[in-house]
Amino acid sequence: MNKVVSGAEEAISDITDGAVLMLGGFGLCGIPENCIAALVKKKVTNLTCISNNAGVDDFGIGLMLKGKQVRKMISSYVGENAEFERQLLSGELQVELIPQGTLATRCLAAGYGMPAVFTPAGAGTEVAEGKEIRNFNGKDYLLEMAFDADFAIVKAWKGDTDGNLVYKETARNFNPLMAMAGKITIAEVEELVPAGQLDPDAIHTPGIYVHRIFQGNHYEKRIEQRTVRKKN
């Protein structure tokens, strides 16, 4: 079992046009920067991207949108990207907006081997259109299907050579859920250590879910909304 690959280019080398990808992160926090850069370089197109957000114009998934590599986005919030809005309004890009908790739970279902889940989010709204509705204890729930993604691409803080992952702070977000949900899961980490060096009690994603891992470099970790207070 050798999960360690040389870098992002090798990790994504078999991602081809038309693939369905999951990409971890919330806003620009905890996104797989190295793999996104490699996908942009590879110019793979016609992608379906499942990701909570679509990056900003010049960073994150926004870079892939700029290269017209994305055919469809499945997200909960896409408000920070003018190019996204332009492509959407012009019809170049398809978008499916789904509630954030539903997005998370559809990843979870895939990783837990459950074909579908019931959730109340969106009941009585246009999100419910065309979906099976069941009433449990007097409340309506929508049947939501588990995602079916070819590749999940996630970013962790630390990982080991067996693929075990640990995330940092709110950079965790969708990463562990997507890591569980891909047919092939690629993890890029800030620090790759030999198996056995991570505390087994502190691992967030067990390595069984991870197929390829590498230590990324040059993390920019761009901040979207820098908010501070003054001392005194």
Binding site: G79, Y167, E169, R172, R226
Partner: protein, 218 residues
């Protein structure tokens, strides 16, 4: 005088109780954190995966891995905990969050809320709002009473695509505090110097006024 955004937040803070877990939406709701009464233990939930959100960091101490649901840099408080997005919405769905405060573009007299989409104009998405309003035990809406055109945002029925149905419990606007009841909007308090007649004229949904309506203390 209509309330300022800060005063709306200040009034909503009076609804907090010791031990509450609270989710604050983007905009006016975020300001509520500034008015948590001293000595009261309120834990703020940020749906991107944090319980125990603290204030903004000091200049130079920003951490790109530590943000809130509005993507702003934040800090933690002692006792805080991180988790993934599924658990975050799991605790919301399971009704563990005591109070949700969020903004709205429209609220109807039966408690429907619209705040995520203006067809043909705004297509940003619902984020976590639909999950929150579908499951929260107690939802307070913080908003202006009228839109920039001066039209009422408290309606007989919402005209914009809905975020959730029959879920809003209370509204704190710049003009009034109202409960959403089975019979319509029940006026509880009015902004200082704002008359019941003015509130009536700016509320197009059914308004219930019973007895003397006291002024909001700010």
């Amino acid at each position: 005088m209509a309330l300022t955004k800060e005063q709306i937040a200040q009034r909503i803070a009076k609804e907090l109780k010791d031990g509450y877990y609270v989710n604050l939406g983007i905009g006016i709701p975020t300001l509520v954190a500034n008015y948590i009464p001293a000595g009261m233990n309120v834990v703020l939930q940020s749906e991107n995966g944090l319980l125990g959100m603290g204030p903004f960091p000091f200049e130079g101490e920003e951490d790109p891995d530590l943000i809130n649901a509005g993507k702003q840099t934040i800090t933690t408080v002692p006792g805080s905990v991180f988790f993934d997005s599924a658990m975050s919405f799991g605790m919301i769905r399971a009704g563990k969050v005591d109070l949700t405060v969020l903004g709205a573009m429209e609220v109807s007299e039966n408690g429907d809320i619209a705040n995520w989409k203006i067809p043909g104009k705004m297509v940003k998405g619902m984020g976590g709002a639909m999950d929150l309003v579908a499951s929260a035990k107690n939802i307070i809406v913080a908003m202006m009473h009228t839109n920039p055109k001066g039209e009422s945002k408290l309606l007989p029925a919402c005209t914009l695509p809905l975020t959730g149905v029959r879920c809003v419990r209370k509204i704190v606007s710049d003009l009034a505090v109202l409960d959403v009841t089975p019979d319509g909007f029940k006026l509880l308090e009015r902004a200082p110097g704002v008359s019941v007649e003015e509130i009536q004229s700016k509320t197009s949904g059914r308004l219930i006024v019973k007895g003397d309506i006291s002024e909001i203390e700010v």
